[in-house]
Symmetry: C2
Subunit: 138 residues, 2 copies
């Protein structure tokens, strides 16, 4: 697993759950399919559950809290506390006021981009991930 593995893994996992809700999947099953560790899967699932997207129970595997067409990629993204564009830093590093203004403006622009990204993510649901036909293999 490399960069952005959490988001990819989360979508992978949710796609599985959306495709076969009845089938009880353990974190070990998902981990094996995703080529990673059960604990890593549970960490991601923990974030999703914390955000109210999943209803996993301690004793056994849980499921989606709502239909896959009601869960957007933005929900997942925000649940994972991702911030791919904006840095989140607002600290003043320089004594030069011109420098500060420039720094603040750069941050401001990046935050705008971040918001646009979330809006774009909100336009796609888990259900669409499973149905998207843009498969360019071969």
């Amino acid at each position: 697993m490399k960069r952005n593995s959490r988001l990819s893994l989360a979508l992978h996992t949710l796609g599985h759950m959306a495709g076969d809700p009845a089938r009880v999947r353990t974190s070990a099953d998902i981990a094996e399919h995703a080529g990673t560790n059960p604990v890593v899967v549970r960490r991601v699932l923990g974030k999703l559950r914390e955000a109210g997207l999943l209803t996993s129970e301690k004793g056994h595997a849980g499921g989606l809290a709502r239909g896959p067409e009601k869960i957007t990629l933005a929900d997942v993204y925000l649940a994972l506390d991702e911030s791919l564009v904006a840095t989140g830093e607002q600290e003043v590093a320089s004594a030069c006021s011109v420098e500060n203004i420039l720094q603040i403006k750069v941050e401001s622009v990046l935050e705008d981009i971040e918001r646009s990204l979330v809006e774009r993510l909100a336009a796609t649901t888990i259900a669409e991930v499973r149905e998207t036909g843009a498969v360019n293999h071969g």
Copy 2:
């Protein structure tokens, strides 16, 4: 410096150059203002120069290859070889075909998002970064 420092630092540097083209700025100057190392600045500048955005020369400091209103954030983003959303992995990890299709679809969706992000970045120029009035301080 933390995450996304390259993009932030690049915009920071370009913003400086756009604001005062006549003033020769050394990488040491920029590094001091940005709170980082001259070599780190030169690494970022090297990428930008490689992409044709800058015309830095060995002996002394260079400048913007074109006007700041003609350089978009997408130019900078692509110059830095950033790929914030898409993972770039197309490898087949599982023997299960259903698994493969899901994996490919997830990647496909993430690449769509990545393209949307670049489009959004292309809508903003360096000149706008300096002029954006959305400064929400204090």
